[in-house]
């Protein structure tokens, strides 16, 4: 696979690992006092575990798994609202497969489908729109989920629906943005992070400058990275180089895909279709100001919240965010203060089959990744 296989070469990996080790030694990093690098993005978390990078890098480097999995941070209330919509007669509810297993108070979308709701997995919002074209007697709702990488596709699909005048298509918008929770993490007085690996696919849309505040305001290095193992290792090395050199800058390891200023078409579509919500709830993190997007009134005809009267502002909706489940340490894990196996629920009350917390829900959640790839259990043996 071009532009992928080349970035998995084990020989280059060994070289990078050696350099990383040398840098870590030079910085005096040890298992007890590690350099803590947060990979923000769930895709990076997944790659780290899939390729075993956490066990290959020098023991003085610790990966902290950030809040960048849109599935993990989806709060219960939003899942409940999905189900509420999906169970309306005549609705075809479409979603990425990722969201099917996320638990709400009345169970997951899988459970709702098993109860009879017409819920279908699609690969693209364009496929949902096509379903709407083909099923004029049904209302087709697309579950818009994801960070800035995914947001433009939903915006472009809504624009297409508006152009074609498709009246039976709407989006239940749960798009969220990456920079805001990072700021929350950095403002936390218990913050222990030394640097960041930035999500390359988000930056392919928004460019690298939205992260300037990380370097400028908080003095932390950040490298926007690709998703192959060599991309990740190279980015770790670039973060370590900055630390060693006493610099803090936004650097772009993923220049083959990420333009410095992002993608103008996507940015324009987002600006046209969406506006910021005053705040949005993140599972495990609570309400975060200006961290979510909603559909502008001009596109209200395509807004499932408006069409079905659900979501923020709907009558009877609880104002306060959902408290974390009893015994769940997701907040501590997500802010880097605890490793998954240290959570008392890990592998006991909380498994991928019966997730208790956000991070066990998606295979990109830190706890699920620990579990799936056996890091935890192997370590426990």
């Amino acid at each position: 696979m071009k532009y992928a296989a080349e970035f998995r070469d084990p020989t280059a990996a060994r070289a990078l690992l050696a350099r990383i080790a040398a840098r870590a030694e030079g910085l005096g990093a040890t298992r007890a006092r590690p350099i803590r690098i947060m990979e923000i993005c769930g895709g990076h978390t997944h790659a780290i575990f899939r390729y075993g990078l956490d066990r290959l890098v020098h023991e003085g480097i610790e990966f902290i798994h950030g809040p960048g999995c849109p599935v993990c941070v989806l709060p219960m209330a939003r899942v409940d609202e999905c189900i509420e919509i999906a169970e309306r007669p005549g609705v075809i509810f479409t979603t990425f497969g990722d969201a099917m297993r996320v638990p709400g108070r009345r169970g997951s979308l899988i459970a709702a489908r098993a109860r009879g709701a017409d819920i279908r997995m699609v690969y693209s919002p364009l496929d949902a729109l096509e379903l709407a074209r083909r099923n004029p007697a049904h209302e087709v709702v697309f579950f818009g989920l994801g960070f800035e990488t995914t947001t433009p596709s939903t915006a472009l699909t809504i624009q297409a629906a508006a152009r074609e005048g498709i009246g039976n298509f709407s989006v239940f918008c749960n798009h969220i943005t990456v920079p805001e929770p990072i700021r929350v993490l950095l403002e936390d007085p218990h913050m222990v992070l030394d640097g960041f690996i930035g999500p390359g696919h988000v930056s392919m849309v928004i460019g690298i400058h939205p992260y300037d505040f990380i370097a400028q305001d908080f003095g932390k290095p950040i490298v926007v990275a690709g998703f192959e193992p060599l991309d990740l290792l190279q980015s770790v090395l670039m973060v370590l180089d900055q630390i060693a050199e006493g610099r803090a800058a936004v650097e772009n390891q993923y220049a083959r895909v990420v333009p410095e200023r992002g993608n103008p078409v996507s940015l324009a579509a987002m600006a046209d279709v969406y506006e910021r919500r005053p705040s949005f709830e993140w599972r495990g993190l609570g309400e975060i100001d200006a961290s979510g997007l909603r559909i502008r009134p001009a596109y209200a005809a395509f807004d499932a919240e408006a069409k079905f009267g659900v979501g923020y502002g709907a009558p009877g909706r609880p104002a306060a965010p959902e408290p974390e489940a009893e015994g769940c340490a997701c907040g501590a894990v997500m802010t880097g203060r605890m490793k998954p196996p240290a959570c008392p629920a890990f592998g006991r009350g909380c498994t991928p089959e019966t997730p208790l917390g956000a991070l066990m829900v998606s295979s990109e959640g830190a706890c699920a990744a620990y579990w799936q790839y056996g890091g935890a259990r192997a370590a426990a043996e």
């Binding site: 899939r50 990722d98 297993r101 997995m121 690969y123 991928p352 799936q372």
Partner: protein
């Protein structure tokens, strides 16, 4: 005479329409022995002292009903033959029970039945009895087929997962995940197109060839639902051994890799319909491998790993990148991961 182009509930009602459907579509092709409510069968191999009878059943519910490389009927015959064959049984007889949704095309039924008859004949097996039921529109998904197989295990043959020992070598007969990937693409709801074909094949003759060349074969499993990962985990658990496989040598087609990348899937969990994994003592591994490779359904055979003493019950994979990871059973169904 059967005049309808589509099956209606009348074809399951026990009357003349049903009789016509059964006679013209099913028994005319399968030619079962006699027309009583039960087949009456004899085979000298069954009465050899020490011979055992093997019996297995599977329901088949594949969507789409016809797909590149096969159809529900072909899988229904191959899958049950394979479940007999991996136990060392020589398949003798099959039954076939059809649950048909109202509205199913008669022409489709005829194609499925022809495909079953051809596959059974090639495998040297007879379809001796059957049943049809028709359910209302929306009460089934087109067509379900349940086959049951009866075979004979010659005296002295005893393949069992519990017999696997550390050091035994794991062999598969061909590329992994072709069926799962081909079906996913053929379904069309993800709008992906490929040239992939299901690996659907009957492996009875292959197993006989391997057992002739390597009589010490410990155990075999067909790696259907849950993929190679499920088969290996089941075997590791039954034998109380560890199993270690090497990502670098796993036979995988480029398109299967591609589909997995696009959808965030793991090919180890994709279903196969003509892929078995077997364990042989190391000294017989070359003979077993050669015997497989000599047949078309084993042309892509490869040694993929071995049983170990460490971590009993656990399957681990040496990754391409030099790491190691646990290959666990799938939790829940494998869903496309995209966003």
């Amino acid at each position: 005479m059967l005049r309808d182009t589509h099956v209606t509930l009348a074809h399951g009602g026990g009357g003349q329409a049903m009789r016509d459907l059964i006679e013209e579509v099913f028994t005319a092709v399968f030619a079962p022995p006699g027309m009583e409510d039960q087949a009456r069968l004899e085979d000298p191999r069954l009465t050899v002292p020490g011979a055992r009878l093997a019996m297995t059943t599977d329901g088949f519910v594949v969507t789409p009903i016809e797909f590149p490389g096969g159809d529900i009927g072909k899988i229904a015959v191959c899958g049950t033959i394979n479940d007999l064959a991996v136990g060392g049984a020589e398949p003798l007889w099959l039954s076939a029970a059809f649950i048909i949704e109202e509205g199913c095309e008669v022409a489709l039924l005829r194609r499925v039945v022809a495909s079953m008859a051809a596959e059974a004949q090639a495998a040297g097996v007879r379809i001796v009895t059957g049943d049809t039921k028709v359910v209302g529109r929306g009460a089934a998904d087109g067509l379900f087929v349940t086959t049951t197989g009866v075979g004979v295990i010659p005296p002295g043959r005893d393949l069992a997962a519990g017999r696997i020992r550390p050091g035994d070598v794991a062999i598969v007969n061909g590329p992994l995940g072709d069926h799962g990937a081909a079906i996913l693409a053929a379904r069309g709801d993800l709008a992906l197109s490929t040239d992939l074909r299901s690996d659907c094949a009957a492996l009875g003759h292959l197993m006989e060839a391997v057992l002739a060349a390597a009589p010490g074969v410990r155990a075999a499993r067909d790696a259907t639902r849950g993929g190679l990962a499920a088969a290996l985990n089941e075997m590791a658990g039954a034998a109380g051994v560890g199993i270690e496989i090497d990502e670098a040598v796993l036979p995988l087609r480029a398109e299967v890799r591609g589909l997995c990348e696009i959808l965030g899937l793991d090919p180890l969990y994709l279903a196969n319909e003509g892929t078995l994994v077997l364990f042989v003592p190391p000294e017989e591994a070359p003979a077993a491998l050669a015997a497989m490779q000599a047949r078309p359904e084993g042309a892509g055979a490869a040694i993929i790993g071995r049983a170990t003493e460490t971590r009993p019950g656990r399957v681990e994979m040496q990754t391409l990148f030099g790491g190691r990871r646990i290959v666990d059973m799938l939790v829940g169904e494998q869903l496309p991961r995209i966003c």
